[in-house]
Amino acid sequence: MKCMLGLASRNLVRQWRRYRLLGSALAFSFFVIVLIASLLGGMVGSLTEKAKVYYGGDFCIRGVEAGGRLVVQDIPALVSALRENLGPKPVISERYEHRDTSTTLFFGGEGIRQRLVIGIDFSMEAELFRRFNYVEGNAQGIKGTNGILISEPIARILKARVGDDILLLTPTLAGQKNTANVVVRGIFRDSSLFGYYTSYLDIDFLRGLAAMPANQCSTLAVFYPDGGPTRKTLLSLQKDLEKRFFLYPLFDRRQAFLDKVATENPQRMKYAILSLQANLEQVQELLDAVYAIAIILIAMLLGVAILGVSGSYRAIVHERSKEIGTMRAIGMQRGAASRLIMIEAALLALLGCLSGTVLAWAGLGLLGLVNFSFIPLFDIFLRGGRIQASLSLVIVLPLAVILLATALVAVAGPARYAARIEPSDAMRIGE
């Protein structure tokens, strides 16, 4: 085997002109494949980060009281139970999501509807809101005030800047129209479906405006500083909470939870654990489309690679018939001839992977400098207007294995052909 490796690598080095086009093609294919996979990872990562802020953490506790109103009531008991199970690291924060289609922001006579106003405990979620991509201002010192964070598109429509007093019109829980003057403290860049029509206020201020009792919230959001909970953690938490509260089973989809609430009409306070994946159901179609496009592109590239390698190696083996015949004549067995071709192809693929990885690293670095905010509706995949993608072995290694396997499959035919070359036939070539 060592001898074969030496022979194969020597062939590649000595006949590099013959292999340079194929090698370049393999390198380019791997570069594009790794780029697509890394970008996909970065885009989905950005979407997930935005979704965490929007939906309330890596998972959240939702509640339903008798009669069907979505509310969380036993806040201290729930927080205590969560701490016991999860330890001190995760951030557990109360949130109040005020959804009403008539909620409107007014400034200078201009009015714009807000689909969702979220009351936040800014002392608990300070780190999360520090990471927002602010165009102007920030969330510092907003706790306990009438400050509001609005999205850049909304600020542009209202022509509002940080420091401006704007009027928030929203109905109370009982349906009565209420208004309050709020001060723009921060304008964040997010034109995605998560951020465009969403504003953030201090939770106590919003509770007062909506006449919601202070001991209630709509969600208990749980954020993990690094990574997120495993399914095992959630199942264990579910089991423990079931001993203390009335709980729904774990839902895989947010809509399944809402449908259950609508049809069941609970007679007592019940809670549900909703993971981020369950909440992401709203954008699942978008994610599926993105994954599908990536898979199709990668499959097409691999298909092209197979055809390219196969075709090129047929030609190469034909050109080297005399050489292979000579090696056969001096004692190389059929199997060895075939293996030699396969090892050459494998080494070429590995070189292509290495070069492609370096190119992808450079390409990602360059792409990371470009602000893609100009693309409509693309903001959902961006952080700070940029795609935050990075190379990782988790992405590169499996793809390298796939390309290697593809190359070996492609070269199997030519390798079999090489094995069938008879020394006498090879000697006759050129006569």
């Binding site: 008539s102 007014f106 200078g108 006579g109 201009e110 009015g111 009027l167 019109l169 109370t172 009982a174 349906g175 009565q176 129209k177 209420n178 208004t179 309050a180």
Partner: protein, 259 residues
């Protein structure tokens, strides 16, 4: 004995004051009921043609026409859009607490709210239904004020239930118990809109405004350094108390007419 007489006098004065206040409130309450009765058609049907002119500063003026049919005794109304052509056939049907909007293009009824804006104007869907100040509001205070040529009683009201479109409202009422001006406020006291109804036309034993001007206090635009509010002018013409068939007050009627 002198002390007893003094105590009795104080109690009597307190009793008289309380009685007067209650009597005054009762008077105002009765007056509110009369105000409602004057503009509510509780004996039969009411129909008229409404012309709605919506003025949005900087965006121009839009005009629409609608046929309005009311049956206040059952808290029902039907509004059929006549103009412009794009809106022809669209309509609203209200029955009790339920209000639907019909779009013939989709052939769909969409459930909406009486508190929502009417056709993107400054009017509310509840503006077309019967008056219910006495039922939905309690009196906070009263005073007197001169409103142009009108000598008015100003009545401050606060909603007693969640059905009222605005939590607070202020009425300027003349001696004939007709509302000449109304200001609607949010729960926190923010002025939302002003409604002016300077003149009325008598229809049977009731009154219908000749014109209604609604000025939105929140929406508008600054043009030439001056803030201009959005306005809606409603003109009510051809009022009639003619009885309408029961089938008119139904969702099916809207579907049939739009075909």
């Amino acid at each position: 004995m002198y002390r007893n007489t003094k105590q009795f006098s104080v109690l009597a004065i307190i009793f008289l004051c309380v009685f007067s206040l209650c009597a005054a409130e009762s008077d105002i309450k009765a007056r509110l009921t009369h105000i409602d009765a004057l503009i509510t058609f509780s004996e039969g049907d009411f129909s008229a043609e409404y012309t709605i002119v919506q003025e949005k500063p900087g965006q121009g003026t839009s005009v629409s026409k609608a046929a309005v049919f009311r049956r206040d005794v059952s808290d029902t109304y039907l509004i059929l859009m006549l103009e412009p052509t794009d809106d022809k056939g669209k309509g609203y049907f209200k029955s009790g607490d339920s209000l639907w909007f019909y779009d013939p293009a989709d052939r769909r009824f969409i459930f909406t709210s009486a508190k929502e804006q009417f056709r993107n104007s400054n009017a509310r869907n509840s503006d077309f239904s019967r008056s219910s100040f006495a039922k939905d509001y309690r009196i906070i205070s009263t005073s007197r004020e001169q409103l142009g040529k009108f000598d008015c009683t100003v009545i401050d009201l606060s909603a007693t239930n969640n059905d009222a479109t605005f939590p607070r409202t202020r009425l300027w009422v003349t001696g004939d118990d007709l509302i000449r001006k109304m200001e609607d406020y949010s729960l926190s006291g923010q002025l939302m809109r002003t409604v002016a109804t300077p003149t009325y036309q008598k229809v049977g034993n009731h009154y219908v405004p000749v014109g209604i001007l609604i000025v939105d206090a929140l929406r508008g635009k600054t043009i030439g350094g001056k803030f201009l509010n959005e306005k809606t002018q409603i003109t009510i013409a051809m009022p009639s108390l003619a009885h309408q068939p029961d089938s008119l007050y139904s969702k099916a009627y809207l579907e049939k007419v739009s075909r």
